[in-house]
Amino acid sequence: MVRLITHNLLACHAKGCTSNNFPLKFQDAQIALRESEFNPDFLRAFMPKLEWPALISSARELGDTSLPEQIPEMLDDDFLKTLHHVLFEIEVEEGIMICPNCSHNYAISNGIPNMLLAEHEIA
């Protein structure tokens, strides 16, 4: 599965592509929704590692607009539950992720993203 929490960690790594290489843009994404266990402690600890604007734009590419543009000051349970849903419960099964800088395409099939590069594309 590519869930948005994983997507938020991925960056393009093709040769020479070192800036503006994140976040990868979804195209033709087929998604599935699957409930998972809510873990507020994990979410609070994970917040500082999140790239928020990237998460917001990627969620919108997948049709989810439930999160605010700015991180709210109060991380209450309602907010954390919304965040949990966006990060963990939207699964991209098929589709393409495109680098905003070099336009390299990374395919997702059967829930597994293929980040392999050809030997000559490796930095």
């Binding site: 994983t6 991925l10 994990f42 994970f46 829930g111 597994i112 993203p113 293929n114 392999l116």
Partner: protein
């Protein structure tokens, strides 16, 4: 016969109460146990006679070392700490584990369940019934620590390991002699190999439950169920990943990628493991690069890394006969894997067996090439937390720091 009960350094009063209860003592007595030694940790007032139900009772708050107690015990009952489990199983002592349900996230239960065939798991409420039904003969003998992670099922029957040398460009060589082999034989590992490697289980258990991790070269994903909520499995083999994505019966996050790349935001992981992976890379430069990508993947402030590779120095219990010509630089070999369906089909996997000191030297040069100080005391660097050899493998644990 003697029973030793330990709760480690935690408070686990319910277990102490349960073992001192007449019903349990009676059950133990029925099984022939006449002495009970209890290390009770932070329990406030264990109020028990020195003898009850025909069992002699000895109470200790804490002990500097439990090894002697494990050694003389005929049965150990304990909380499910990784250290306790490993030590007791290695001594070949029968073990009943009672995970402490009050501890965070209950990783203890997961570890005990994962090791289920080697020990008996119980709960405080079921302890009497567990003792009544307990028969050490029903437990699987704890295995020797074998070298190859994805090994053929019966090493003694396997054809011999043979020497090889890398005679093509390394990426092509790895494609032919590592990646395509694993893709071909992957389905076999969905059925047979789900035993966790105990040392690594202990490392994973020490990881904070809110940390995120990378299992670089995850194979069939055997370690993914053993750690924190968010560990991502990376592998080159699509067919192994199809197995890893549901490892342990839950949906796992897996990514197809190369351990020589860093397809992540730099430093985003809290920890990374590389178990039995780097030894499949065909040149020292590529092995060094793989280590650098692990160091790149983890936080420069606190990132932890554990690496295991196969060693030229083989354990005496290893049934493999390994040709060694060059003890100082390691040895390139083919390890055969015989198809169970068709015994005439033999797949040779390439391994670089590491010489003594070779992994450590590689780690040092990898870090220095990145401009990182090796050792404590600089403003930024990599500390070698532990390194060693165990049962046919070299391992090293690293920690990045930045002040």
């Amino acid at each position: 016969m003697l029973v030793f009960v330990t709760v480690g350094t935690f408070q686990f009063d319910a277990l102490v109460d349960a073992v001192l209860d007449p019903a349990l003592l009676k059950a133990l007595r029925n099984k022939g146990y006449t002495r009970l030694v209890v290390q009770y940790g932070l329990y406030k007032e264990p109020n028990a006679p020195t003898e009850r139900e025909g069992v002699q009772i000895e109470l200790w708050p804490a002990k500097p070392s439990l090894s002697a107690d494990f050694e003389r015990a005929d049965l150990v009952i304990g909380h499910a700490g990784a250290g306790t489990i490993l030590e007791v199983l290695r001594l070949g002592k029968p073990l009943i584990v009672v995970p402490n349900p009050t501890l965070l996230h209950n990783h203890q239960t997961e570890l005990a369940n994962a090791l289920g065939e080697y020990l008996s798991t119980s709960s405080v409420a079921d302890l009497v019934a567990t003792v009544d039904a307990f028969d050490a003969a029903n437990l699987t003998k704890f295995p020797a620590f074998d070298g190859t992670l994805l090994d053929s099922p019966s090493p003694s029957m396997a054809p011999a390991v043979t020497m090889t040398s890398v005679d093509a460009s390394p990426d092509v060589y790895e494609q032919d002699n590592v990646h395509s082999v694993y893709d071909e034989i992957a389905s076999h590992f969905s059925q047979t190999r789900y035993k966790p490697w105990p040392i690594i289980a202990a490392f994973l258990q020490s990881i904070h439950p809110t940390w995120i991790g990378l299992d670089s070269g995850t194979g069939n994903g055997k370690y993914l169920p053993l750690c924190c909520p968010w560990t991502i499995g990376l592998d080159r083999s699509r067919n192994l990943l199809e197995i890893a994505r549901t490892a342990g019966g839950a949906v796992r996050e897996v990514v197809q990628g190369d351990v020589l790349d860093n397809s992540w935001r730099t430093g985003v992981f809290d920890y990374a493991i590389s178990i039995a992976t780097i030894h499949h890379l065909a040149t020292p430069e590529r092995r060094r690069r793989a280590i650098q990508q692990l160091l790149n993947a983890v936080s420069p402030h606190h990132g932890r890394v554990l690496i295991y590779v196969w060693a030229t120095r083989q354990d005496e219990q290893s049934k493999r006969s390994v040709p060694i010509t060059d003890a100082s630089n390691g040895q390139d070999v083919f390890v055969p894997w015989v198809s169970q369906k068709d015994q005439t089909r033999v797949f040779n996997r390439y391994y670089h067996m590491f010489a003594d000191g070779e992994l450590d030297a590689l780690v040092v040069s990898a870090a220095q090439e990145m401009g990182l100080h090796v050792g404590a005391g600089a403003s930024e660097g990599v500390e070698i937390v532990q390194q060693g050899w165990e049962r046919s493998n070299h391992f090293v644990e690293l920690r990045r720091y930045k002040r």
